[in-house]
Amino acid sequence: MRRFHLARLARWIVPALTLVSAFVAGLAAGVELALIVLAAGALALVIALIWGSVQSLTGESPMTLEEAFTVAQPTPEEEQKLAVMRALRDLSYERSVGKISEDDYQSLSARYRAEAKHLMARIDEELGPRRARVERRVERRLSGSADATQASGGKASPASADEPATGKSSAVKAKLKKKAATAGASITATSRKMTAPASVPCGTCGTRNDLDAHFCKSCGHSLGGQSA
């Protein structure tokens, strides 16, 4: 981990140092020296980069931080989902300014929503196994820390040491389960064909919400059984 930090720092410090020394050299001895310093800095950077490239080619370097980051980057499906969401937003804007008729809006919006759901389902599908793995790890870790607390607690009563840990663990589990349930629901929702567009009024404020909405888009009140 420490190596990563150093490498990361070096990536910023070397160019910064080059720029500063070029600036100082430029002030002290004119543009010529500044250019030479910059060129030397560029060359040093190139050598370091080629070295890094060859090292990673031969498999000698550990996974870089950048590589590790790539795991968390948005997938094509996520980017596409954003695009569809944007299209949906455009559509509702066009309805609000009266550019398209209500019927057209309903049919187009149903199409985009189906597409968005399809994409979300795919994202969930892809994330499913990873989520399960994370869940297992968290569980293992929590139970491990609970054991550790138990062991280090020594004389403390086993019940008091155990309780917070299991409490925490069960809370996490409940959260994870809730998420999984939502994901499952959205997957099943996708399989439903959106044929007849309709809406559900909110029981509290009366705003019309889409058929598959769980919460009111205006007041946030749960639509509960209404939407089913």
Binding site: A42, V46, L49, P76, Q80, A87, D90, E94, S96
Partner: protein
């Protein structure tokens, strides 16, 4: 080798070729099932960019130290040149401009690789490989045909030949980099398209994600193509002294060809994003845009078409022919190979839809491009076909480009009034009512009041063709000013109507939520939430301004006259009194700055200007005779700028004995609106390009990015806005005046003094950007807190 700059530089170029080839190989390997090699390819791409940076720094060092062992340095600089023009000389000639091109490409490569990070992991290897190939092509070109590090065979001469004096101009210093940024920028979308074609990520809906990525890069390139072209116009207008800004010279035409296809792509990509159709068309447009950048470069550098300001003839033409052939073959082959994947089932549902409007607009843009291309190549084509060279001049271009341009202009106004997919009749009637009403009113007002104001609605032009057809065409053409002005009114109304409807809808829904919004708040939030859409409308507003500038020459007045000392001439509302000639240095009336200029002799003819009887100031058109190039005296234009018209004066000859002088006076209506249009266009494109910050991004990096974006935008705007003053002050020293002069601001003496301005703008930008990011971050935290609380 290390003491010899020519050898070191050539060695650096070879190194670029080697590292680029290595990166290409590693990237292809990474794409073919060994993804662990991707980081290696990425580092290789950075290293290649670094090496090109090293090479350009070496050449800059050569210029600064006057190392005339380098043939290129000796040919394009001399010891008397100021430092800023020594840097300009980097791209002043053929060889250096290729290196400069590669340098900009390497900047794009580094930025693209950095931006890609973990995105598009499947496409990434091929994107890197394609970019390496493009860079490799230019390096091969330099190494084998136009090496800027070529040593002087006869050893270093005592002094260089100096840069062409016409190029020693502020606008010329920033025009090529801006235009090249546009040209080179088209390589990135091209790399994406090739990568998508090679990997076949085209078929299912989830897989055309690359189209989302490419749009911003293309918009960026489009922005710089626009800036570059308009800066070229400014340079031609101020430096060449013929009174106009666009002469349909092959070099200008070559520069505007990719602009048309990029504009078409920026629009048609929206259809693919929403409807998943037009895939073949979009891929074709991207490939065509890239091809046209190569073709434009080929046209200006091969000496194939005679042009007043193309580069010297050289043997790089054949390399370009091979390069273009290879590009064409690759694109065509890949598209045909992937045709089944590119075909889409969706069709345009209705002609009354924005999709259909975009298609018509695309065809008009492509039609304009094809017309310019064919007309530019006409001398060569006619030579091949009928065996004799037929050249076509500016009247021919103007005649046929006017209707095409007006069609595009009309489509630009109409398209936003339609909704996607289909629009009902009632919605269309509502949308068109006001703009069409304004169009009619503008037309009527123009017909009745235009002639009184000096801008008649109908302007007769010469017939180009004999017979009835020619006469009919002439009649239609005489109405172009009326059509342009009416369409400008229509377009303006559409844009304002769009903003008005958006703000009204926003305020309406806000009032329903019981959170009423003021007009300005609603406007700000509306634009903030739909940056692409409203940024696009602002760009349209810029184009409307430009069209106003383009139609201006229809009402221009040009006269050529000879005046004796003390004589006056009346031109429209202006009265010009000739005070007499003045040769500097030497004349006691010259300013200290003029007296100390030893690089040239300057012959000024002072004119006292009044407008409707009110004094405007004194202007001094001049002839400069540079000691380095005495055979090529330059005309220095003197201008009085205004929103209604520019007074443009050129000195023909001045006899020191009789003090008699000949002048050309031009009154150019509305030309200034082109430059204003450019500033509006830049701000619109900046709004569109403004990055969306996701919640997960809120952190130091997003602060930095927003700040850097704002700073760059502000600096660019300030730089451009300060341009005229520095341009005038740098090349046109003027006498101290008894009172304020319209036009260039006093104070900025040399371009170097813009540096504090840019620094200030950058600081201001950093401040504003930081504040915006901080507010955004706080808002995100609030939202998060609200979410947690729920």
């Amino acid at each position: 080798m290390w003491q010899s700059l020519p050898e070191l530089g050539t060695g650096a170029l070879y190194a670029v070729l080697v590292v680029a080839s290595y990166t290409f190989a590693v990237a292809v390997a990474a794409g073919r099932g060994r993804p662990r090699l991707l980081p290696s390819a990425r580092l290789g791409a950075y290293a290649t960019s670094g090496l090109v940076l090293f090479a350009i720094l070496l050449l800059a060092y050569g210029f600064i130290t006057h190392d005339f062992r380098l043939r290129y340095v000796a040919r394009y600089s001399d010891r008397s040149m100021p430092t800023e023009y020594l840097f300009t000389a980097l791209w002043g000639g053929q060889d250096g401009s290729l290196l400069w091109w590669s340098f900009l490409l390497s900047l794009y490569i580094a930025a693209c690789v950095r931006w890609l990070k973990g995105r598009y992991r499947v496409l990434q290897p091929y994107i890197i490989a394609t970019l390496m190939m493009v860079l490799g092509f230019f390096v091969i070109l330099m190494l084998f045909a136009a090496n800027p590090f070529h040593a002087n065979v006869a050893g270093a001469p005592p002094d260089g030949e100096g840069l062409n004096v016409l190029l020693q101009n502020y606008w010329m210093a920033i025009h090529p980099p801006a235009l090249y940024l546009g040209f080179v920028g088209c390589s990135v979308p091209f790399a994406f398209a090739i990568a998508a074609l090679v990997t076949g990520r085209l078929k299912s809906e989830a897989k055309n994600e690359w189209i989302v990525a490419v749009r911003k890069w293309m918009l960026f390139a489009f922005l710089f193509l626009s800036i570059g072209n308009v800066l070229g116009m400014i340079w031609a207008y101020e430096e060449l002294g013929w009174g106009g800004f666009w002469a349909w010279d092959p070099v200008e035409n070559a520069a505007c060809l990719p602009w048309f296809t990029a504009a078409a792509y920026v629009h048609s990509t929206m259809i693919q994003e929403r409807r998943n159709t037009f895939k073949i068309w979009n891929v074709f447009l991207i490939c065509l845009t890239f091809f046209l950048t190569l073709f434009g470069t080929f046209l200006t550098r091969s000496g194939m078409i005679a042009s007043v300001h193309s580069f010297a003839q050289s043997d790089i033409g054949i390399f370009f022919v091979w390069g273009m052939g290879f590009t064409l073959a690759t694109c065509a082959g890949l598209i045909v190979w992937r045709l089944p994947m590119l075909r889409s089932t969706a069709r345009i549902e209705s002609i009354a839809s924005r999709d259909a409007m975009f298609v018509i607009n695309n065809w008009a843009l492509l039609g304009g491009m094809t017309f310019i291309l064919v007309a530019t190549l006409f001398p060569k084509l006619s030579e091949w076909i009928i065996g004799e060279t037929v050249t076509v001049g500016p009247p021919f271009f103007n005649r046929w480009m006017a209707p095409i341009g007006l069609l595009i202009f009309a489509m630009m106004g109409m398209a936003p009034l339609f909704g996607w997919s289909k629009t009902s009749r009632s919605a269309l009637e509502r949308a068109f009512a006001v703009p069409l009403g304004v169009l009619a009113i503008t037309a009527v007002l123009h017909v009745f009041f235009g002639p009184k104001l000096g801008y008649p609605a109908f302007v007769e032009s010469d017939t180009l063709y004999p017979g009835v057809l020619g006469l009919a065409l002439q009649k239609i053409e005489s109405a172009w000013p009326l059509v342009t002005v009416s369409l400008a009114g229509f377009n303006l109304t559409v844009i304002f109507q769009e903003f008005y409807r958006g703000v009204a809808a926003r305020r309406f829904s806000a009032a329903r939520r019981n959170e009423p919004e003021g007009v300005l708040t609603a406007l700000f939030r509306l634009v903030d939430k739909n940056r692409r859409r409203y940024g696009g409308y602002v760009v349209h507003l810029g184009i409307v301004c430009m069209f106003l500038g383009f139609v201006g020459p229809a009402w221009k007045i040009e006269v050529e006259t000879s005046l004796a000392q003390g004589e006056s001439y009346r031109l429209g509302p202006y009265e010009l009194t000739y005070l007499g000639p003045r040769m500097c240095p030497g004349n006691p009336k010259c300013s200290p700055q003029e007296q100390s200029d030893i690089s040239k002799r300057m012959l000024f003819a002072d004119l006292e200007v009044t407008r409707n009887g009110n004094p405007v100031g004194r202007i001094s058109p001049a002839k400069f005779i540079y000691h380095a190039q005495p055979e090529q005296p330059t005309s220095e234009v003197a201008l009085v700028r205004g929103l209604r018209e520019d007074l443009y004066t050129v000195l023909g000859t001045a006899d020191p004995a009789s003090k008699r002088a000949t002048f050309q006076f031009h009154m150019n209506p509305f030309v200034g609106w082109i430059w204003i249009g450019l500033l509006v266009l830049i701000s619109g494109a900046t709004i569109s390009l403004w990055p969306d910050l996701g919640l997960r991004e809120v952190g130091v990096w997003s602060y930095m990015r927003t700040a850097a974006g704002t700073a760059a935008g502000a600096a660019l705007a300030v730089w451009l806005a300060m341009g005229p003053s520095t341009a005038f002050a740098a090349v046109r020293p003027r006498p101290p005046l008894p009172y304020a002069v319209a036009g260039p601001a006093k104070g900025a003496e040399r371009p170097g003094e813009t540096l504090p301005g840019i620094g200030g703008a950058a600081l201001l930008g950093l401040g504003v950007g930081g504040l915006a990011a901080a507010l955004r971050g706080r808002r995100a935290r609030w939202r998060k807190a609200a979410g947690d609380a729920l």
